[in-house]
Point group: C2
Chain length 284, copies 2
């Protein structure tokens, strides 16, 4: 039996299933304090028997390098109570023989989409999520990218759309991708949440501009064969097509990866990509 946990900023999912991503049983609950959240998770897992291995998909910043002294720790975060909390210690205290594989939530989602989802069978895949923030998981040459800590794709700095004078919502960088194109950025720029804007609202041209430039940077650095965009904001009708069309214009025929079509696609799993990917980590 394999266990999986998706620790999200607002919700937590615990599950048991197979390492190919098949879910047998899951439970979802709000992420509250670290102590309460892990107590609830451990209680649930205990009722299912002794898991031999667990994959965890966690919000970041989180130390996912197993060689680091602080492996498993949530790093400095504005999220109250979580800075410095160890994700792995309470689980290992409860299940001492269990093997834990820890990844970022976006890397886990990327893995699920690349194995059995919208990019099934590809070895080079990026998964972008757009909601309160923007993040990406990247599978490159069949491996999930980490580098020093892990990618913070949302904070890439991109060319401004002509005539756009919105200063951006990122407290660090102002007009980085996240500052210009996250859910809060859309709401602040247009005075209306994205969910209330019609598909032909100019907001979506602006959104596609920043997304296409972000993907262009991915293409230049860790070229994906396909890009999956999920998260609440991505549900706007036509956004994937609009982004892909602009991306092709920007790329000007230069990147062979764009011969794949469609190139920018919605996720197959969306709400379940993270937890399925976490299950897959047990066999990765």
């Amino acid at each position: 039996m394999f266990a999986a946990m998706e620790l999200g900023g607002t919700k937590t999912v615990v599950a048991i299933g197979e390492s190919d991503g098949t879910l047998i049983e899951e439970m979802r609950f709000p992420t509250t304090t670290p102590e309460e959240t892990f107590l609830k998770a451990i209680k649930w897992f205990s009722g299912k028997g002794m898991p031999e291995a667990m994959g965890i998909a966690a919000f970041g910043p989180v130390q996912i390098n197993p060689k680091a002294d602080n492996w498993g720790d949530i790093l400095q975060t504005p999220k109250a109570h979580w800075s410095g909390f160890s994700i792995t210690k309470p689980l290992l205290a409860a299940f001492p023989d269990m093997k834990i594989t820890l990844e970022t939530d976006v890397n886990a989602a990327c893995l699920a989409e690349a194995r059995i989802g919208a990019a099934a069978g590809l070895e080079n895949v990026a998964y972008i999520t757009i909601g309160t923030g923007i993040g990406a998981g990247v599978l490159c040459d069949g491996r999930l990218l980490h580098g020093a800590l892990h990618p913070e794709f949302g904070h890439v700095l991109l060319p401004r759309k002509s005539g756009d004078d919105f200063k951006g919502t990122c407290p660090f960088h102002g007009d980085c991708l996240e500052g210009m194109a996250s859910g809060p950025a859309i709401a602040q720029r247009w005075g209306t949440p994205g969910g209330d804007l019609s598909p032909d609202h100019p907001a979506w041209d602006t959104e596609a501009w920043y997304l296409a430039h972000g993907i262009q940077a991915l293409l230049a650095i860790a070229p994906p064969e396909r890009v999956v965009i999920g998260g609440g904001v991505s549900q706007a009708q036509g956004l994937h097509e609009k982004t892909e069309a602009l991306l092709r214009e920007l790329a000007a025929g230069y990147f062979p990866a764009l011969e794949n079509s469609p190139y920018v696609v919605p996720p197959k799993f969306d709400q379940e990509a993270g937890i399925r990917g976490a299950l897959m980590l047990t066999g990765f």
Copy 2:
């Protein structure tokens, strides 16, 4: 005995040595037609005995994926006579039992700098070269990044420096990094080659702007622990320091990788990084 070949756009280097990058003997000559260049290389290697393995560092675009049918082929390139030429076939015809490992020139240089050069011992390193074009090799999690084909870092699109109205020299994208910051871009923008501009010329603030933004994109996608910048243009006095200072300003304390100092450094080997990296490929 291990063999190595660096096939550059203007010069070719052939060498024998050890797989730790130690050079025993090398010869350099201009890259001319494919036939003439490979005839000369093969003749030289034949005089050294039968190499058991060879690492090749080649200019791109080149198919480096060993699973691809066209592995070893130079792809569509403006360089006369080279489009579609197979690098590997003539070498395997001459040395049928030789194992060939093929990489991009920048990935090979990155490997050398990461193993025994300016970023020795690090597992996450980017090597950027600025000359006629701009390219990068990236070691991430101890592996050289490929993705779909290989990175084309020079073509990343970046925010314009305020007040900069140069339209850029890239025939595909105009104002991508290469179009704004390569040797020809500097010469065209200022009417003088970079080598003739004094270290306090404003050209170098502009150069540092685009480089720092390019590195910021690397940090957000495949975070390096250190960035090595080589190539002719990088020899401008103070350019590494200027780029690092601006990068730190842009990053606004966000990326933990920047705790490493110095972060942006010149190469240790410069002219020899490619051929030493090619030797290392035989044991990679």
